[in-house]
Amino acid sequence: MNYADFALIRFGSGLSPSHDGPATPEALIDSLGQGDGSQQFPVMSTDEVTALYAAYMRGRRGRKNDPALEAEYQKQRERMIQASWLLRRSRLARAVMAPVGFADRLAQFWSSHFSIRGFGAHKIILREAFQEDVIRAHQLGRFADLLRAATLHPAMLDYLDQSSSIGPGSPFASRRGKKLGLNENHARELLELHTLGIGDAYSQADIRQLAELMTGLMVDQDGAFKYAPQRTEPGAETVLGKEYGGAEPPRLDEISAFFDDVAVHPATAHFISRKLARHFCADTPPPELVEAMATRFRDTGGDLTAVYEVMVGHRLARESFGQKVRQPWDLIVAGFRSLDVEGRTLVDMKLSSLRRMVMKPLAAMGQPIIGAPQPEGWPEEEEAWLTPQQLAARIDWALDVPSMKAKDLPPVTAFARTALGEDRAAEVEPIVRRAESLPEAIGLVIASPQFNRR
C-alpha cells in the first residue's frame, strides 16, 4: 500500500474517489495547516453560543409577565434547537469532505480525551463550540494551551461540576450562611484523565489541593466563563510538590501557572503520547513508538504537531496497520466518503433520514452522538466496539447506506478499489461479487473487516 492510501485510512477520514492522499508524512503534516473547506459548513464560536443563550435566558427569566420576552424566549429556543442539528450535520459534512481529514480525526481524539456530554440544545451547541474554539483551535499547538482552553471552557466547568465548587474559607462562603465548599470532581479528572494519567504521579492530597486552587473558576448565569476571586480559597496550595496561588487578591494566572507545569510533566508526556498511539496505531501500542513520541513531547515542551510528526512517520505506525477498529463515527464518515456522498447532502437531508442514516446507527454501534457516557471518553480496545449487537448494527448500516446512492452506484470492482485500496480489494472482491445485488455487494465491502479496520 502506498503512503497516500495508508495515511488516508490510518490518520484521515478514509479513501475517497474525489481525493488523493498525502504522498509523504511531511505532506500529511502539511495538510493540517491547509484549509479543509470548512467555510462551506457553518460553525458557531463559544461567544456566539453564549450570546444566543444569554438572549434565551433574558426571555426565560422575564417571560411570565411580558409577552415580548415570551416571544423572544420562543424565538431563541427555536434558534438553539435548529443550531443543535445544523452544527452536528456540519461536523459530519466537514469530515466527509475534508481532502485528508487528519484534523477531523484529531478533533475526534481530543474531544474524547476532554470528554463532555450534555443533553438539551444549549449543551449540545456549547459542546460543538468547544470542539471549534478549544480543540480545533489548539490541537496543533502546545498541549498547555489546549489544556488551559479545555479546562476554562464553560462546557467543561459545567460538566465536571467545577462551577459550583467554592473555597470553604472564601469571602463568598462566609457571607452566605449555609455551608458551601469544594467539589473535587474536576480536579481529579484533570489529573487522572487529562494530564498525568492514573498512576503514582499524584495522590489524593494533590487532588484536594488542586480543587482548592481551582476555586473561582465558574460559569455565570448567562453561560459564560467567569473568574470569581471572591469564591477562591484563601492562601497558597501545594500541588505535585510545588506551591501555587496565595496572592491577595487571587488571580487567574496563578491557576494557569499550574496548567503550564502539569502540561509538560514527564507523566503527562508519556500519558498523552501513549493515548495518541493507542488511538491511531494499536490498542497495545509498541513501547518504542510511545517512547519516541514522549521524547519529542518532552524535548519540545509539549508541541503537539511535533509529536504527531513522530507518529505519522514512524516505521511502527506503518507496521501496525490494520490493528485498530474504526470507531462508529469514523466508520460512518468513511462509508459516506467511499460512496462520494456530498457534504451538502448531509447538511440538507431530512431529519428523518439523518436519524436513520446517522443518529440511530451511531447509538446502536455504541457511540451515540451525545457523547461518551463517562468522563473517560470512548474506549480504545476493540472488544468494546465488536460485541455481536454492535457488529450487527455495523452490518445493518453497511447494507443500508448504498441506498443513498441508489441510482448512481459504481461497479463493485471499482468500488472495492476505491474503498479499500488495491491490495485489500483483491481479498474482498471475489467474495462480495457473489452477492445477490449490487447494493448488497457494496454494502458487504463496507461491512468487511478490511473496511472496518485501519
Binding site: Q374, W385, L444
Partner: protein, 392 residues
C-alpha cells in the same frame, strides 16, 4: 432407545408441558439446572450511604446535611438503624417478603486512586490486582462458565449495547441488546462468514449475531422494543432470556456519579434500579424463586457531603441483592461506624468486607461450585473464611 420411541417421548413431553404452564418447554434445554444469577453493574459509583441510610449512626447527621437525612425526610425504616431512600420505596414489598437484602461497607480490593475506569475494571475482572494494565483478560462471570455442566452459548448472556467486561473471556457466551436487530438474507450471511473468516474478533461476534437472530429470541425481544425506559427494557429482555436457556446474565445501569445536587441526580438512578428489580421479578414469574440478583458498583462515595450538595469518590459502598433465592429482609455486614476515626483515610466509609465474598457465596451456593474454585479461579486471591449466609 430407538429413534421413533425417542421422538414420541419428546413430543409427548412437549405436549404435556404446554398443558402444564408450571413447566416451560425450555426446561428440556441442557442448561445447568434451574438456578439463575443476574449481575447488575452500577457504573459511576453509587452512594450506598444515601441508598441505604445509616440513620441510627449518631455521626451521620454531622456529615450530611441535605442528603441522607433518614426517616424524617421520607426514608423508609428498614431495621431501626438503616432506612431506605424514598426513591426505592416501590421495593418495600420485596424487602418485607424477604426477597431484598443489602450488604453495607463492602468494596473490591481497589484502594486510594478512586478512578471510575480502574474501579470498574477491577470490579468486573474480579481480581485483587491494583496495578492492572489496560484491558483485562477476562471477567469473573466468564471464568465461572467452564464450571457449569452442559453450558451452551446462551447459558450466559450480556445484555445492552455496551460491552460487559464482566463476561468477557474465552468461554462462549451470548451478547445482545433489547433494541438490536439483525435481519440479513441467508446469502449475505454466508458471504459475511467468508469475509470474517480470517479475522477472529469479527468472526466470533458475527457468529453470535447470526445465531441469536435465527434462534427465536422472538417474543421477549419484540416486547421490550416497545419499552421506553432503558432499565425496564434491559430487565424485561434479561428475564425473557432467563426464562429460556439463560442462567447467568449481566447488564449495567449508569448515572451514579452524583458530585453535584445529589438529591436530584440519585433519584433518577435509584428509580431505574428499582424498576429493573421489579420488572425482573414480574417477568421471571416462578423462576424468580430460583434467582439471585446482585447489583454492585466500583466503589462508594465520601461519607461527608461535599460543598455542592453531592459526594465525591470514596471507598466502602453498598451491594444490593434481590431474588427469591436470597435470604433478604436484612442488611448484612459489620458496620464500621462514621466517627472521624472510623472512616477510611478520614473521608470514606471503611470497607469491612470484600464484595466478591458475597458474589462468591452466591455462585457457590447456586451452582455448586466449590469454595476452593471460587477462591482460586473466579476470584483469585479472595479468601472467604467466614462467608455470609445470604442464600435460603
Amino acid at each position: 432407545m430407538d429413534r421413533r420411541r425417542f421422538l414420541n417421548i419428546a413430543l409427548g413431553g412437549a405436549c404435556s408441558a404446554a398443558a402444564m404452564p408450571a413447566i416451560t418447554p425450555m426446561s428440556f434445554a441442557s442448561a445447568p439446572g434451574e438456578r439463575r444469577f443476574v449481575a447488575i453493574v452500577l457504573r459511576g459509583a453509587m452512594d450506598g450511604l444515601d441508598a441505604v441510610q445509616p440513620y441510627g449512626d449518631p455521626f451521620l447527621a454531622g456529615l450530611r446535611r441535605t442528603i441522607s437525612v433518614g426517616p424524617q425526610k421520607g426514608a423508609l425504616d428498614l431495621d431501626g438503624f438503616f432506612a431506605l431512600h424514598p426513591a426505592l420505596a416501590p421495593l418495600m414489598p420485596m424487602w418485607a417478603a424477604g426477597e431484598l437484602g443489602f450488604a453495607q461497607a463492602v468494596s473490591t480490593p481497589y484502594r486510594d486512586k478512586r478512578s471510575h475506569f480502574d474501579g470498574q475494571e477491577i470490579l468486573e475482572a474480579g481480581t485483587g490486582d491494583q496495578s492492572m494494565p489496560y484491558g483485562v483478560a477476562s471477567g469473573w462471570l466468564n471464568r465461572l462458565l467452564p464450571m457449569l455442566p452442559g453450558a451452551t452459548m446462551q447459558t450466559a448472556f450480556a445484555v445492552g449495547i455496551e460491552n460487559m467486561a464482566i463476561l468477557n473471556g474465552d468461554a462462549d457466551h451470548a451478547s445482545w441488546a433489547p433494541e438490536a436487530r439483525f435481519d440479513v438474507t441467508p446469502q449475505a450471511q454466508d458471504l459475511l462468514r467468508q469475509l470474517y473468516d480470517n479475522d477472529p474478533p469479527f468472526e466470533s461476534a458475527a457468529e453470535t449475531a447470526i445465531a441469536l437472530s435465527t434462534a427465536n429470541l422472538g417474543e421477549g425481544a419484540m416486547k421490550v422494543s416497545e419499552q421506553k425506559q432503558i432499565a425496564t427494557a434491559l430487565a424485561s429482555f434479561t428475564a425473557a432470556r432467563l426464562n429460556a436457556e439463560t442462567r447467568i446474565a449481566a447488564f449495567s445501569l449508569n448515572g451514579w456519579d452524583t458530585h453535584h445536587n445529589q438529591i436530584g441526580g440519585i433519584q433518577r438512578a435509584l428509580v431505574q434500579l428499582s424498576d429493573a428489580l421489579i420488572v425482573l421479578k414480574r417477568d421471571l414469574g416462578r423462576n424468580w424463586d430460583n434467582t439471585v440478583v446482585m447489583a454492585m458498583t466500583e466503589f462508594g462515595r465520601t461519607a461527608r457531603e461535599n460543598g455542592t450538595q453531592g459526594t465525591d469518590h470514596g471507598t466502602g459502598g453498598l451491594m444490593v441483592m434481590a431474588g427469591g433465592a436470597v435470604k433478604g429482609g436484612r442488611v448484612y455486614g459489620d458496620w464500621p461506624g462514621l466517627d472521624e476515626g472510623d472512616l477510611y483515610a478520614g473521608r470514606d466509609l471503611m470497607p469491612t468486607a470484600d464484595v466478591r465474598a458475597y458474589a462468591g457465596v452466591a455462585l457457590s451456593g447456586l451452582f455448586g461450585v466449590p469454595v476452593s474454585k471460587v477462591e482460586s479461579t473466579i476470584f483469585p486471591g479472595l479468601i472467604m473464611p467466614d462467608p455470609p449466609h445470604i442464600l435460603l
